[in-house]
C-alpha cells in the first residue's frame, strides 16, 4: 500500500547472485515451454475439430460482427465508468464514516462495508432482478447491473481509502493541529490529498475488478461485452471463436489498466526516492 513498503522489499531482498540468476532463467524457460506446449495442444485440438478453419475466424473482421461486439464493449465500458465515478467517491464517504468519531456513524458504516464486502455480487444482482420488483422497484437494466456494482465496489474501495488514510504520516496530524487547522480542515487539506495519492494505483486495480464484475450483466440481460458474446454464439454457433475474441478483449483491457497502475506506482516511488530528505 505505502510506497515505503514496496521500496523496503527491494532493500530487504538481496539481488540474486549468478547462480540464483541462472536458476531463475532456467525456471523461466521451462515454464514458458510448458505454457507454449499447452497452447499448442489446445490449438492442435481445435485443428482436429476444424475450429481453426479460416471461415470460422474471418467473420470477426466483418463490420457487422465488429459492430455487434463493439456495442457490447461500449456497454461494458459505460457500466464500469459510471459505477467507478459513483462508487469511488461513495467509498471515500464510507471510509470517512468508518473512521469518524461519531460512534453510531462509524458502526453503521462498518456494518455496511462488511456486508457488501462479504456478499457475492451475484446475490446483490439477483436482489435487484428478482426481489425488489416484487416491492414495485423496477430499475432499467443498466442500473440493475450498475447499482450492485456500486454497492460492492464502494465497500471494497472504502477499505482501500481507509488504509491510505492510515498510511499518512501521523506527524502530519500534529503539524496541522499546531498551525491551527481544525480536524475537518486537516482531513481535507492535509490527510486526504496525501491518502488519495497513495491509493491511486489500488484504485486503478479496483477498476479491473469492476470491469470483471460487469460481466454479470448477462444475468439482467444488459448488453455488455460478455452478454453480446453469448447472443452472438446463439446466432452464429461460433462458440470457441467468439469466446476467444471476447476473452482477448477483456485481457487486453485489464492488461492496460494493470500496466497503468504499475506505471503510476513506479512514478510515485521514484518521486518519493528523489526527495531523499523527506519532511517528516
Amino acid at each position: 500500500m505505502s510506497t515505503t513498503s514496496t521500496s523496503a522489499t527491494q532493500v530487504l531482498f538481496d539481488a540474486p547472485g549468478p547462480r540464483g540468476r541462472r536458476r531463475i532463467l532456467l525456471i523461466s524457460i521451462v515454464s514458458s515451454l510448458a505454457i507454449l506446449a499447452l497452447i499448442a495442444l489446445g490449438l492442435w485440438q481445435f485443428q482436429r475439430n476444424g475450429q481453426l478453419a479460416a471461415d470460422k475466424w474471418l467473420p470477426y473482421l466483418r463490420r457487422d460482427y465488429i459492430a455487434f461486439l463493439g456495442k457490447g464493449l461500449m456497454g461494458t465500458l459505460e457500466a464500469t465508468a459510471v459505477a467507478a465515478v459513483i462508487a469511488f467517491p461513495f467509498g471515500l464517504v464510507l471510509a470517512l464514516g468508518r473512521i469518524s468519531r461519531a460512534r453510531a456513524l462509524s458502526a453503521i458504516s462498518a456494518v455496511w462495508i462488511e456486508f457488501f464486502r462479504g456478499i457475492p455480487m451475484l446475490l446483490v444482482v439477483y436482489a435487484f432482478l428478482l426481489a425488489l420488483p416484487a416491492y414495485g422497484v423496477n430499475l432499467p437494466r443498466f442500473w440493475m447491473l450498475v447499482v450492485p456494482m456500486i454497492l460492492v465496489s464502494s465497500a471494497s474501495t472504502a477499505e482501500v481509502f481507509r488504509a491510505g488514510i492510515g498510511a499518512v504520516d501521523r506527524g502530519q496530524d500534529e503539524a496541522s493541529a499546531a498551525i491551527g487547522l481544525s480536524r475537518g480542515q486537516t482531513m481535507r487539506y492535509v490527510i486526504l490529498p496525501q491518502a488519495v495519492r497513495l491509493v491511486l494505483p489500488s484504485l486503478i486495480l479496483a477498476l479491473v475488478s469492476l470491469l470483471k464484475d460487469s460481466t454479470l450483466g448477462f444475468v439482467v440481460s444488459f448488453n455488455e461485452l460478455q452478454f453480446q458474446g453469448k447472443t452472438m454464439v446463439s446466432i452464429t454457433r461460433f462458440l470457441v471463436q467468439t469466446y476467444v475474441v471476447v476473452s482477448v478483449i477483456y485481457i487486453v483491457l485489464n492488461f492496460l489498466l494493470t500496466k497503468a497502475a504499475g506505471l503510476l506506482e513506479r512514478r510515485m516511488r521514484r518521486r518519493a526516492a528523489e526527495g531523499g530528505g523527506r519532511s517528516r
Binding site: 502530519q172 499546531a178 498551525i179 480542515q185 528523489e274 530528505g277
Partner: protein, 274 residues
C-alpha cells in the same frame, strides 16, 4: 506575557509529565526551557497553544486563561515550530508558508507575496518557494518551518527543539539567524531544547528542568553559570568540568584563559564587551 500558574499534567495512561509548574514569561522576552528527555518540556510548551490541556492549574496569556479560548483560533495566533519541520509534502514551500493566511481568507496573490517575503526574511531565496519540501535540505526545511510560524504575524513563538535534527554547523547558522530575527521582531519566544549551549545562546532567561517539570534553577545564563543552584544544575551546565571550567593564568603580562585541561581558549580583557 505568558503565565504558567501551578500547572500539572497527568496523561491518560497515568504518566505525570508535570507536577506543579509556575513561570512568568514577559512580553518580548526569550525564555528557554532546558532539561533531559522526558522532563516535560514539550508538554509544558503545548499547554500554551492547547495542544495539551493541563490537568491542574492554568495557563494565561496576557491575563486571559487559554482554557476559554477556541483552540483553533488560539493556535493561529501563536507560531509553532517543531523539530521535524512538519511541512506538508504535497504542497510547495510557498503554499506551506501561506497555509493559514489562505484559510483566513487572504487572497492568493497577497498571501503568496507575503510568503515569499517571509522566506527571504528567514534567509532563503524566494525562488525556493516553488519547490516541494522534499527538495530542500533539512536546514532549509527548518527555516521554512520558522517562516510558516511567522506567517500570521503572531506575538508568541513556540519552538520545540527546532534545530535538533540538523548538523552542528547548520544548527549554529540557524541559531544565529534566530537571534537576528528576534532582534528585529521582538516576539515573545518560548524555546525548548536539551542542549545547554543552545539554551545559553538563545535565552535571555533559562529555566533548567528536572523530570516532572520541576524547576531546578532559573535565571540569566550568567547567573546560572556563576552560581549553580545544586549538583544537578552544575553537572547539567558542566560548569565543574571541561570547556566551562575556565581559569586564568598570566603569560608574559597577559591574562590568558585556560580550560580544565589547561588548553588556552582566549585572552582576558578588562570590560571588553564589544
Amino acid at each position: 506575557m505568558i503565565r504558567f500558574d501551578h500547572v500539572g499534567k497527568t496523561y491518560p495512561g497515568g504518566t505525570t509529565a508535570v507536577e506543579d509548574f509556575s513561570l512568568t514569561i514577559d512580553s518580548h522576552a526569550s525564555v528557554v526551557l532546558v532539561g533531559t528527555s522526558g522532563s516535560g518540556k514539550t508538554t509544558l510548551m503545548r499547554m500554551v497553544n492547547r495542544m495539551v490541556d493541563p490537568t491542574s492549574g492554568r495557563v494565561l496569556i496576557d491575563d486571559e486563561d487559554v482554557a476559554g479560548v477556541d483552540p483553533v483560533k488560539l493556535r493561529r495566533s501563536i507560531g509553532y515550530v517543531m523539530q521535524a519541520s512538519g511541512l506538508l509534502p504535497h504542497r510547495t514551500v510557498a503554499e506551506n508558508v501561506a497555509t493559514v493566511p489562505l484559510l483566513e481568507g487572504v487572497s492568493r496573490r497577497r498571501s503568496r507575496s507575503r510568503a515569499l517575503a517571509l522566506l527571504e526574511m528567514v534567509g532563503l531565496d524566494h525562488r525556493l518557494g516553488d519547490r516541494y519540501p522534499s527538495q530542500l535540505s533539512g536546514g532549509q526545511q527548518q527555516r521554512v518551518g520558522v517562516a510558516r510560524a511567522l506567517a500570521s504575524d503572531p506575538n508568541i513563538l513556540l519552538m520545540d527543539e527546532p534545530f535538533g535534527a540538523v548538523d552542528p554547523i547548520v544548527r549554529a547558522e540557524l541559531q544565529k539567524e534566530l537571534l537576528r530575527l528576534q532582534s528585529e521582531l521582538g516576539k515573545t519566544i518560548l524555546f525548548v531544547t536539551h542542549d545547554i549551549d543552545e539554551a545559553f545562546l538563545i535565552g535571555e532567561q533559562v529555566v533548567i528542568l528536572r523530570p516532572g517539570g520541576e524547576i531546578a534553577q532559573q535565571g540569566t545564563p550568567a547567573e546560572i553559570l556563576a552560581d549553580p543552584a545544586d549538583d544537578f544544575v552544575e553537572s547539567f551546565v558542566g560548569s565543574g568540568v571541561g570547556k566551562r571550567a575556565l581559569h586564568v593564568d598570566e603569560v608574559s603580562g597577559q591574562q590568558v584563559v585556560l580550560d580544565a585541561g589547561d588548553r588556552p581558549v582566549g585572552v582576558l580583557r578588562e570590560g571588553s564587551r564589544s
